[in-house]
């Protein structure tokens, strides 16, 4: 309990380093940092990472069921390819938004 509390205080103390952030003004980013580009980098990372996890789960389930029952290969192969393409397209939606919004 005391250890986790000290971790919480440590994190709060490190957040004080973010004080210069309050100096930034309103929404105009004409001469400042291009936040849209930075955010899009993080967004694409999250999308690709979670998509990778989802596809890994789908592939592992398919391979396991194929090892159990090799006779069902056509059905398993079909479901695997279909599932992978649908999961992949979710990461691609993020990519499309990035290309639409980042200047």
């Amino acid at each position: 309990m005391r250890k986790s509390l000290s971790y919480v205080f440590l994190v709060l103390a490190m957040l004080c380093f973010a004080a210069p952030l309050f100096a930034q003004g309103g929404p105009a980013a004409s001469s400042g940092v291009n936040w849209v580009a930075i955010t899009s980098g993080f967004a694409m990372t999250i999308a690709s990472a979670v998509c990778g996890l989802g596809q890994a789960k789908a592939t592992s389930a398919a391979v396991e069921s194929l090892a159990r029952n090799p006779a069902a290969r056509p059905g398993i192969q079909l479901s695997l390819i279909l599932g992978l393409a649908l999961i992949e397209s979710l990461a691609l939606y993020t990519l499309v938004i990035i290309f639409a919004k980042v200047k």
């Binding site: 056509p74 079909l78 390819i81 279909l82 393409a85 397209s89 691609l92 939606y93 990519l95």
Partner: protein, 243 residues
Amino acid sequence: MPEQLPFTALLNRLFGSLANSFLDVLHFKHNPLAPIGNQVAMQILVVAFLIVVFALVRARLSLDNPGGLQHVFEGIHGFVTGQSEEIIGHHSEGFTPFLVALGVFILTCNLLGVIPGFESPTAVPSVPLGCAIVAFCYYHLQGIKRQGALKYAKHFLGPMPALAILMVPIELISHTARMLSLTIRLFANMFAGDMVTLVFFSLVPVGVPIIFLGLHIGVSFLQAYIFVLLTTVYLSGAVAEEH
């Protein structure tokens, strides 16, 4: 003068005035110097090439001495028929011509971008949107033809009449989202393949982009197959009959 591919420049030189008058009649916004855009010219090329190939196959059909081309198309036909039989069930042979045409068209469009001097028409958002709208209209029309308009509309209402008020907006949105997802999946895969090859070309001009071109070719085949597979799945949902 906008940037044009060599084939587009040729088409604009030959048919420019005709295309200009046609587009003016329809009040489409276009650049008078290049009324035929790159993707339109590439699609015309793909269609002309496919017509020649299919005419060749038809002319050389033979029972005793099938050539290589006939084997390829027998393979494609058998594959699509087998898959639609597995997914849709009985009476699915009528859908094979449309599915083969759609698949071969998308595949040729995707692969055209690998050849220097040409670009993939599917790398612009409008072409996959066209394919998706065609697939959407096709499976709804087949559903209506198979089951009758009233019975087909009734299956949007869901399993119980009490849930109908909830199911109708969900079904409508999910059906339009199918079009969106088909479009974006095909467009983003082709566009991302182009972008990735360009990025690595700007980093290491020799050798490395070939790996990404190879990946792009693999993705082209896979995405054409996925488009046809998903259209088959939507068809099976539309023409399925409750037993």
